[in-house]
């Protein structure tokens, strides 16, 4: 079976089977190929099966879909093609085994040293002229000698390590995973026995250890506050070969506890701020760290500081987006809520007046309004909670038709049902299904109430509720058809979006969104078909056993 193998990007290593006729690619959770890549649109692209070939189709994504580097709208896929979306690369292959993955951290870049270049020049010159060999060999010898210089060797090593650090962690946004990786790399290049990374809280400045590592079992990592504080306050790296006699730490008790060790501590720096500290140490017998080690660690500290800042900014960005969404939600609901509050005011006023005048009729009328408002609030809260959090349905055996009867009866007693003719076409042979009765109640009720609103302006408002078996007995379907004005094709896609309502103050925009969410939590879905001028049908499709989507 053909597959897509993620060869690059945050989801690198994952294999996606192309086992459906249409395989969706995107950031949205419902996508078949769900990519945790911020530069991928929610519904970015699709892979469509036609006969025995696959086509890639871009769904008007923001950043485009590319195949082998070329931007496409749609195209046929050949084995070996690499699809690029956002920062992710997916290779199209017959099986996953066909795509060998390089180790994370490997890069196709080779750091060319002076020695390589000298050798090349030398060969060329030797080939072109027979004479002057002595002069050339002297040059070559000098070059070779230069490479032998320890300093340059160290510089080259440091560069390689830095490259390794950056390429390994720059695509990790989870801070703790990132910091663990950094320590792993540090331990692979230095014979450290203990290592740690401490980060300062952005607001309080409080230091917390975020990663620790030891070589060998049972080593406890105790972090010297004195050295760490020095590092942060003076914003410079510290190399201490014998911390006990080091003048800088005179007042520190914690240093004495650590015994005689060699230690390096460097600040994690970004944009002139110190975000934390990276430290390693070892017993002097194992290793006495050198200035060169300090240089390397300092460079790593600077690099990691930038990466940490970056990861934090990404997280903040996500949080800001969520807050903005909440803000929008509040604004959109406030009008609806104000109307409910006005209803409560009115009802209460009538009750008060009725009590004063000893007019029971007024009291009853007022109470009716208060009760209705109270129900609206309850439903709103329920819908909001439903929408906000994932909820696992609590399953029991449900006789769908009798549940539908209950829902219909309730719905017919609401205000918006007035004047609406409700027809039923319930299949009596429907088997019981495993579902959450309260959740299904909520789901279907929302759809029926939506249908009532849709037919409000019609001369003969009619809503039909149908139940039937589908997909050869593997699923049940509940269809709600109305003879309203229908939904224009352009709006069909967004009809399930939360908080978009065309009903002004009377709608919350949550009803259909919640209905769909409930259906999906049961392993089903809600779909809509509509004809402008004629009406719409919303169909809830559920598997017989909730949660298990039948193949």
């Amino acid at each position: 079976m053909s597959v897509l193998v993620a060869v690059g990007g945050p989801d690198r290593g994952k294999v996606f089977e192309l086992d459906e006729p249409v395989v969706s690619i995107g950031r949205d959770e419902s996508s078949h190929v769900c990519l945790a890549d911020m530069r991928v649109s929610r519904n970015h692209a699709q892979v469509v099966r036609r006969a025995d070939e696959h086509q890639i189709v871009d769904l008007e994504s923001r950043n485009g879909t590319f195949v082998n580097g070329t931007r496409i709208g749609a195209g046929r896929l050949k084995v070996g093609d690499v699809i690029q979306v956002g920062r992710s690369s997916l290779q199209y292959a017959e099986t996953a085994d066909d795509v060998p993955l390089t180790q994370p951290g490997d890069t196709p870049v080779r750091i060319v040293t002076a020695a390589d270049q000298v050798d090349a020049t030398f060969d060329a010159r030797r080939a072109s002229s027979a004479g002057d060999t002595d002069a050339i060999s002297v040059e070559a010898a000098k070059a070779a000698a230069a490479i032998a210089d320890l300093k340059t060797q160290h510089a080259i090593r440091n560069l390689r390590v830095l490259y390794k650090v950056v390429s390994a962690v720059s695509s990790i946004y989870e801070l703790d995973v990132l910091l663990d990786k950094v320590l792993e790399i540090v331990f692979s290049v230095l014979p450290a026995e203990r290592g740690f990374i401490v980060l300062a809280d952005p607001t309080t400045g409080r230091l917390t250890p975020r990663a620790v590592r030891t070589r060998g079992q049972g080593e406890e990592v105790r972090i010297s506050h004195t050295i760490v504080n020095y590092c942060i306050r003076h914003e410079e790296g510290v190399l201490s070969t014998n911390a006990m006699s080091d003048q800088r730490f005179e007042s520190g008790d914690s240093v004495a506890d650590l015994g005689i060790r060699s230690a390096i501590c460097v600040p994690l720096r970004s944009r002139q701020r110190v975000l934390g500290v990276l430290g390693v140490d070892a017993r002097i017998s194992t290793r006495t760290f050198t200035k060169d080690d300090l240089r390397l660690m300092t460079a790593i500290g600077n690099q990691v500081g930038v990466v940490v800042e970056n990861a934090r900014l990404v997280q903040e960005n996500i949080r800001a987006e969520r807050l903005a969404a909440v803000g929008e939600a509040v604004a959109s609901l406030s009008h609806y809520i104000k109307n409910i509050l006005q209803g409560l005011q009115g009802g209460a006023t009538l009750i008060e007046t009725g009590l004063e005048d000893e007019d029971a009729f007024l009291v009853r009328r007022g109470y009716g309004i208060v009760d209705k408002s109270q129900r609206k609030v309850a439903k709103l809260v329920r819908d909001m909670l439903n929408y906000a959090g994932p909820s696992a349905p609590s399953l029991s055996e449900v006789d769908l038709n009798s549940l539908l009867e209950e829902i219909i009866e309730f719905a017919m007693n609401t205000e918006s049902a007035e004047g609406v003719a409700l027809r039923r076409q319930l299949d009596p042979s429907l088997p019981p299904i495993m579902a959450d009765p309260d959740a299904i109640n909520n789901c279907v009720l929302n759809i029926i109430l939506n249908a009532f609103d849709a037919v409000a302006e019609q001369d003969e408002p009619t809503v039909t509720v149908t139940s039937r078996l589908a997909e050869g007995g593997k699923r049940v379907e509940i269809a709600v058809t109305d003879n309203g004005v229908g939904i224009p094709a352009a709006r069909l896609k967004s009809v399930f979006n939360a908080l978009t309502s065309t009903k002004g103050g009377r709608g919350t925009g949550l009803g259909l969104a919640v209905a769909r969410k409930i259906a999906q939590e049961h392993g089903g879905d809600v779909s809509v078909a509509s004809q402008e001028g004629q009406g719409s049908t919303f169909t809830v499709s559920l598997p017989l056993r909730a949660g298990k989507a039948d193949a």
Binding site: H335, K338, N339, L341, Q342, G343, L344, Q345, G346, G347, T349, L350, T353, D357, D359, F361, L362, R365, G366, I369, K372, E415, G504, G505
Partner: protein, 142 residues
């Protein structure tokens, strides 16, 4: 006993200024307003949208019109405009009840009109006693 059901009560309008027209699409609000106004021996007429409201204003010549403006839709504001630009109805004071639109925003519309669309304003949720105070004041005025 005098109550909501006693709609046809012709003996009520003894005093000159005691007729109020409600233009509101929400049945509950109309119910409450009617009850508390009739309790003050005010004659109440209802219209459930802007178009019917303008027709009712012409037919009934109320002393005060209460208009609920809802968003979206300019129905309530259209009604106000129609009334305020009609020579026969212009003088009737209009009290606007608004849920979504704040007074500042409403006044922006008014500026564009160059004719005042309303005379009094209450933002929801409001207290019915405040509404009564406005109604009584307007009805008492000459």
């Amino acid at each position: 006993m005098f109550g909501v059901g006693a709609r046809a009560n012709p003996g009520v309008d003894v005093v000159a200024k005691q007729r109020v027209l409600l233009v509101d699409d929400d049945r509950d609000t109309r119910t409450v307003l009617r009850a508390i106004l009739e309790r003050q021996k005010i004659r109440v007429f209802e219209a459930e949208n802007g178009t019917k409201g303008v027709l009712a204003a012409r037919k009934r010549k109320p002393d005060l019109i209460i208009v609920d403006i809802r968003m979206p839709g300019m129905d309530g504001i259209e009604a106000c405009r129609a009334i305020k630009t009609d020579a026969a109805l212009r003088a009737i004071p209009i009290l606007i009840l608004s849920g979504a639109m704040r007074r500042a925003k409403l006044d922006q519309f008014v500026e564009l009109e160059r004719v005042s669309l309303y005379d009094e304003f209450l933002a929801k949720p409001f207290e019915y006693r405040d509404l009564l105070a406005i109604v009584n004041r307007r009805l008492a005025a000459g």
